[in-house]
């Protein structure tokens, strides 16, 4: 399919004899919010790791923005425009909130190692521009009041939002969110849904969401793909997915023959 930002074409990965993801075909368009759901162990996070270059597919292909991604490392893919968050929050623990975002902005900084040593005008202007970018991002996510605090000291929900802000600092075309609602209470979940909508509308990027939480997925995704045992068993709008008997079966088990 042309026009898609992310194209998975029968992407497969095997670990020894186990096929964790089998012939997964999935497209995400440039302005779409797509959910990837499935029961525990269905291969959602593995699919995620395929897309972000942590694993290389053993079969099939993945293309991003028409580039084949085979052989690219995670940092190369980030450069191409794929940003991600992690299921278990992975902030830079020894840095402040500000520096966490600043670290991610550097992908697009105009000055490098020589400027950092020379500390000339180019460096000072570059650092000022970086600071402005960081502060704008922190403002969007209401995190500017924490700018000097250690990232690890933030409340859980704020850490999640900081992770999203940090990912956006790399100026991605596609944002991958790995179970952002994990461990959140209902209020935090509502807050998160608002944040994700805001990201999509304000930054005009595609979002692929791996999620356990039905309320969140059904609430915000335009399209949902369902994985079970590494195989895509359904794809469609939230309404279609809700009524799909295969999906119900995967989640609740086979109905007993009466």
């Amino acid at each position: 399919m042309s026009g898609a930002l992310l194209e998975l074409d029968r992407a497969t990965i095997q670990f020894g004899g186990l096929t964790a993801v089998s012939e997964l075909t999935l497209n995400v368009r440039a302005d779409e919010l797509v959910g990837l759901i499935g029961p525990n162990g269905a291969g959602k996070t593995t699919a995620f790791n395929l897309i972000t270059g942590v694993y290389q597919p053993t079969g099939g292909s993945i293309r991003f923005n028409s580039h084949p991604t085979a052989g690219l490392k995670p940092h190369d893919l980030t450069r191409l425009g794929i940003a991600r968050t992690f299921q278990n929050i992975r902030l830079f623990a020894s840095m402040s909130v500000f520096d966490n975002v600043r670290t991610a902005v550097q992908l697009h900084r105009p000055h490098g190692i020589v400027n950092a040593l020379w500390r000339g005008r180019r460096f000072r202007e570059g650092e000022r521009a970086v600071e402005t970018q960081v502060m704008e991002l922190l403002d969007v996510f209401n995190l500017s009041r924490f700018r000097e605090d250690d990232a690890k000291c933030l409340p859980y929900g704020d850490q999640r939002r900081l992770e999203i802000a940090r990912a956006l600092a790399t100026q991605p075309k596609l944002l991958l969110l790995d179970e952002p609602a994990a461990g959140m209470n209902p209020t935090e979940k509502l807050e998160l849904m608002k944040t994700i909508r805001l990201v999509k509308d304000k930054f005009r990027i595609a979002v692929l969401l791996v999620e356990h939480d039905m309320q969140v997925v059904m609430g915000i995704c335009q399209r949902i793909a369902v994985l079970d045992y590494g195989i895509k068993i359904a794809e469609g709008t939230p309404e279609e997915i809700r009524r799909n008997p295969k999906v119900i079966e995967a989640y609740l088990g086979e109905p007993k023959a009466a």
């Binding site: 992690f86 840095m95 520096d99 670290t103």
Partner: protein, 326 residues
């Protein structure tokens, strides 16, 4: 790091050179210790870039120091005929130090590229092995030159290195000015690098390599960069050391020398430049203060280090926040 950091650097270099002019009036013993301190600051601060800021564990700093020391000393020996005027000899010394640093940096690159895929203990073992290779190689330089025969310049250079019995008669070129000016430059380079948006990458790799990769940071590249810069300054420190002690022996660059520098970094609080500088000073002066205890000196020194580690495992001087904003 304040905006006018470059001005502080120039002031520090100027002060070092100026003080050096009057060094003839100073007590020679204290003068020697002062130069030792500066050399140790260079070693500790440069290792801190690798072990502290970037979170790798290198035990090869003595090896890089040895590369720099023997290279610089051999160069000044080769060019000794040309060094009649003080200006010319200073220039030759600068070139020798730079060459020593460059060769050490090259060694850092050669060791770093294959081994920085390894983490923690494994990297420590590889770098340890590297240091030993250098030391054992230096022990055999005289035999090597005899085996190779001939009286070419390389053979004579190796002969001069003296193998296990050591390299003697190195010109005294290191003084207060050189050592402290270079210490100031080292501190500036490491601090300026780390306290920049670029330099946040080192700390990101230290904190979480996977997350750093996801932010577009190439962890291997940052690790190799830290390694090469660290090795360069270790090489420069080696060159200063050679022209300060006038004598080099391979056994002076053994594993324990590397450990000494690692202890300075840990005691100073990994990744805290100011703390590491203080630790380098303390750990240089301490053995001197303990000279009164004669043969018990090193035992007491070790006990003091154990006590310090138990009292402040996070490092002696870790009160403020680790990260300084630019």
């Amino acid at each position: 790091m304040p905006a006018g950091a470059k001005r502080y650097l120039l002031a520090a270099i100027f002060a070092a050179v100026l003080t050096s002019v009057f060094s003839a009036h100073f007590n020679r013993y204290y003068l020697g210790i002062s130069i030792d301190i500066a050399i140790n600051i260079i070693l500790a601060v440069s290792l801190n870039l690798i072990n502290g800021h970037t979170g790798q564990f290198s035990l090869g700093h003595a090896g890089f120091m040895a590369v720099g020391a023997y290279t610089a000393a051999s160069l000044t020996w080769l060019m000794s005929a040309a060094s009649q005027s003080p200006f010319l000899s200073a220039l030759l010394f600068a070139i020798s130090l730079l060459a020593g640093g460059a060769l050490a940096a090259g060694a850092g690159l050669a060791v770093g590229v294959p081994s920085l895929r390894l983490r923690g203990d494994y990297l420590a073992i590889v770098t340890l092995g590297f240091g030993e290779i250098i030391r054992v190689f230096l022990q055999t330089t005289d035999t090597l030159s005899r085996k190779a025969g001939g009286d070419g310049i390389i053979a004579r250079m190796f002969e001069n290195m003296g193998g296990a019995s050591g390299m003697k008669g190195i010109a005294t070129l290191t003084n207060l000015g050189w050592s402290w000016a270079l210490a100031a430059i080292t501190v500036f380079v490491v601090a300026a690098l780390v306290n920049s948006t670029y330099g946040r990458g080192f700390i990101a790799v230290h904190d979480d390599e996977v997350a750093a990769g996801a932010m577009g940071i190439n962890p291997t590249r940052y690790k190799v960069t830290a390694f090469v810069i660290g090795a360069f300054f270790a090489g420069v420190a080696g060159g200063l050391y050679a022209h300060h002690k006038q004598f080099l022996s391979p056994s002076g660059f053994d594993f324990m020398r590397s450990i000494d520098i690692v202890v300075m970094v840990i005691l100073g609080g990994m990744g805290r430049t100011a703390g590491v500088i203080v630790a380098a000073i303390v750990l240089t002066v301490l053995p001197e203060l303990l000279r009164g205890f004669a043969e018990y000196r090193m035992i007491i020194y070790s006990l003091l280090i154990i006590a310090l580690m138990m009292a402040r495992p996070q490092g002696l001087f870790t009160f403020g926040k680790r990260t300084v904003r630019t």
